[in-house]
Symmetry: C2
Subunit: 214 residues, 2 copies
């Protein structure tokens, strides 16, 4: 790691030496959602060459950001997970993700959204100040991805999967971003069909866009 250093006695430079390499922060993003197998990581980041993925994981492991753990039986295999040091990157990942979210217009051709990326997007756009004391469960379906979004006394948890007992089920594809960015009002989005909802009080959708906002 002597060749890639920046020669600066500076926290930012140190951070970039560790997680500034290509793909590194996207790997961290996926692991912030939870431990993952090599194959899961590769599925979530299909454009990363396998050698680069293997190299990054070793670098991150040596830097103390990631640990490699061999699963006990019966579920044999290997999972990668963040260390506490790695989880401390969440603030930085969210700050960068929020900044970059303003560049998101239409998806570019061939571009994908993965469960992990959507989960982190929801975490990034969450405004704790607007969710104070709030308790509500949503299920969000977007682009073939089903998310459980639970707010419990103002605390957010986002997981993949369906949530049969959700207070509101939101169905949104490309219409989700304009909704969260405030380009379009919830009522208008429902009217033009870009967002559908079912199973609950329509006012919960207003709550949703109040709480999740770019």
């Amino acid at each position: 790691m002597a060749r890639r250093d920046y020669g600066q006695y500076c926290g930012l430079a140190r951070a970039l030496e560790i997680v500034g390499e290509r793909w590194a922060l996207l790997i961290v993003r996926d692991l912030l959602v939870g431990p993952k197998r090599y194959t899961d990581l590769h599925n979530g980041l299909p454009r990363v060459p396998t050698n680069v993925l293997a190299t990054r994981l070793k670098e991150l492991e040596q830097a103390g950001v990631v640990t490699r753990r061999v699963l006990p039986r019966p579920a044999s295999g290997v999972v990668y997970e963040l260390t506490e040091r790695g989880r401390d990157l969440e603030d930085a990942v969210i700050a960068l993700g929020r900044w970059g979210a303003r560049e998101l217009a239409e998806p570019r051709p061939g571009e994908i959204a993965t469960p992990s990326s959507v989960i982190m997007a929801m975490r990034s756009t969450f405004r704790p100040g607007r969710a104070h004391g709030l308790t509500v469960d949503y299920q969000l379906n977007s682009g073939g991805i089903a998310l459980q979004i639970r707010i419990d006394h103002g605390r957010l948890t986002v997981t993949e999967g369906t949530l049969p007992r959700a207070d509101l089920v939101i169905e949104a594809g490309a219409g989700l971003r304009p909704l969260i960015s405030g380009e379009i009002e919830p009522a208008e989005a429902v009217r033009n069909g870009s967002v559908k909802m079912s199973g609950g009080d329509p006012a919960l959708l207003d709550r949703f866009v109040e709480v999740f906002r770019i």
Copy 2:
């Protein structure tokens, strides 16, 4: 920019496409302090090849992060400065810098600290919650760099230069980091000579480490 994209419809990926290239965020860090000439940037980042610096500036300009401005006379020349979009990166830069600061032990051989890096380090370690309503002026001398650190009713401003009317002048070289990280108590640092102070109430040094902390 077609080859370097990540193929992910994700705010973090977008951010990395724009400011994830090598040296880009360090350039932003320096510009967060204020507009700079090409030569100033190069002095602050001596290890960046000039062609890379020129390329990054063009990329950042095209991305709307930086503007290039020709100075009116008499001070002819060119300065680069952040756009508002670029200034919005401050949160992310500070988050990353704070994370990386925990890796800072001793400076590695040949490693330098520049005025801009120290200024951003002070901004990163500033804890607004601990400075509520506080008004005090420090001058900090560290490694040949003189900084004005002004806290006005809890608002921080850090600039290069001396501050003759400072409430306290702090003289610290390598002893500054252990002080801010809490590894060493202020009184102990003064006693062993790693930190000197003059011109004010010694209690102001305790204030200092209270307000600036990793």
